[in-house]
């Protein structure tokens, strides 16, 4: 809209100016038409336009457009190809990641199994050792108890003798004279009961 109004404003004085110059400066050429409407130039313009535009059309159709179309097609093909290539590479990468993860899982499972086995073996070993030690300790304990019992019995037996000796010594000191050994033994026996 701006364009047309600007033209409308400016063509009016321009035309006026053109008229004054045509009137004053070139009176001899007064009958000459406004150049774009001068029909005398039409045949020449049409002919040369047909020649030049025809050549231009042929050149574009035969040379330029196949070339431009080719360039763009090649590029599109190349882009499609590159995209396919990228997609294939991505697929390969994904497969590699999957394989890696599977192997990792397998390795983890193996490691767990080995660990479990080792821990089971160690447990069993420890259990065996413990049982052996316990058995040995049990045996030693038994032996020790037996030896304590025998020592105790012996000691108890000796206690009797000491008591008899002590009794005879006490009797001797208190009563004077020797007491009968068998009586003392009987007395001690009855007292210790």
């Amino acid at each position: 809209m701006f364009v047309t109004s600007a033209y409308a404003q400016e063509t009016a004085p321009a035309a006026a100016e053109g008229d004054t110059h045509a009137g004053t400066a070139v009176p001899a050429a007064e009958h000459e038409a406004f150049p774009p409407f001068d029909a005398k130039t039409f045949p020449s313009q049409i002919l040369w336009l047909v020649i030049t535009f025809g050549l231009f059309y042929l050149f574009l159709k035969r040379v330029v457009m196949p070339r431009l179309g080719g360039i763009i097609d090649v590029r599109n093909d190349r882009i499609t190809q590159d995209l396919d290539h990228a997609a294939r590479l991505k697929g390969e990468a994904d497969a590699a990641v999957a394989a890696y993860e599977q192997e990792l899982a397998e390795a983890k499972a193996n490691a767990n199994k080995i660990g479990q086995q080792a821990s089971d073996a160690a447990k069993a070993d420890a259990e065996g050792t413990r049982k052996k030690l316990e058995a040995e300790l049990e045996k030693k304990l038994g032996e020790a108890e037996a030896s304590i019992a025998s020592i105790k019995a012996r000691a108890m037996k000796e206690v009797g003798t000491i008591a008899e000796d002590t009794t005879s010594a006490i009797v001797e000191a208190l009563v004077g004279g020797k007491a009968d050994k068998s009586e003392i033994a009987a007395a001690v026996k009855s007292a210790s009961r």
């Binding site: 004085p13 053109g18 400066a25 150049p35 159709k61």
Partner: protein
């Protein structure tokens, strides 16, 4: 006289024969207009040819420009006329490139603007409409005439609607060519007028030189605007071509 010519905004549209040539009573001289048509196609062809010469997989800047133009027009045509329309791709692409490069070259001072002449744009428009009509009848036979008979219009209104459709179809080459021609013509006249102000004001001494800053700034801004218009009009021409070609492919609305 020379000074008057300088500020004459119409002077730039004059056509002078360079190599006079007359065939069968017609003046078909090689003119400055013809010269710039040749310059247009040589520049456009050379750019498209050399920028794509290396056929680089990763395009450089120039190759990117060529590819962008190619894909821009290709998408435009595909959107408007579908896959079938791609058979007209060379036509639409050459039209777009020709109009665009002609418009851009015209922006250089002292250069002739090929598309500022109605006969040039009209010939291109006739080429488009001619293609539509010839292809339409060749492909659909008389079925192409369905283009003028929209579906679902009550019988009473039909003659009126058909008349409107026919008029709108016939006016297409006119609107297509006048749009491009008028934009180029008006833009170049405006540019010339403002540049002329700069020259005439500068001749008035110190005050004039100071005052000429304004039209100079305006001329710079207009040049930027004309650059946009040069591209836009090439685009509009190509888009409308695509839509008209779509009618040739699918005449029933």
């Amino acid at each position: 006289m020379a000074a008057a010519d300088k500020v004459d905004p119409i002077h730039q549209f004059q056509i002078h024969p360079i190599i006079p040539l007359h065939i069968g009573g017609y003046d078909v001289s090689f003119t400055n207009s013809s010269l710039f048509m040749v310059v247009t196609i040589v520049l456009a062809s050379a750019f498209l040819y050399w920028s794509t010469a290396s056929r680089a997989l990763i395009p450089g800047r120039l190759q990117s420009v060529s590819e962008m133009a190619y894909e821009f027009v290709g998408n435009m045509l595909r959107d408007a006329a579908g896959k079938q329309g791609m058979q007209f791709f060379p036509l639409v692409f050459s039209l777009f490139m020709f109009v665009l490069v002609a418009n851009l070259i015209g922006l250089f001072p002292y250069f002739f603007t090929v598309t500022s002449h109605i006969i040039v744009t009209f010939t291109l428009a006739i080429l488009v409409i001619g293609t539509v009509v010839v292809y339409g009848f060749a492909k659909h036979g008389l079925g192409f005439l369905k283009l003028f008979v929209p579906h679902g219009v009550p019988g009473l209104l039909l003659p009126l609607v058909v008349a409107i459709e026919v008029i709108s179809f016939v006016s297409r080459p006119v609107s297509l060519s006048v749009r491009l021609f008028a934009n180029m013509l008006a833009g170049h006249i405006t540019l010339k007028v403002f540049s002329g102000f700069v020259v005439s004001l500068s001749a008035l001494g110190a005050v004039g030189i100071a005052g000429s800053v304004l039209p100079l700034a305006m001329a710079v801004a207009l040049t930027a605007l004309e650059l946009l218009v040069a591209f836009l009009q090439a685009y509009v021409f190509a888009v409308l071509t695509c839509m008209y070609l779509n009618d040739a492919l699918h005449p029933s609305h």
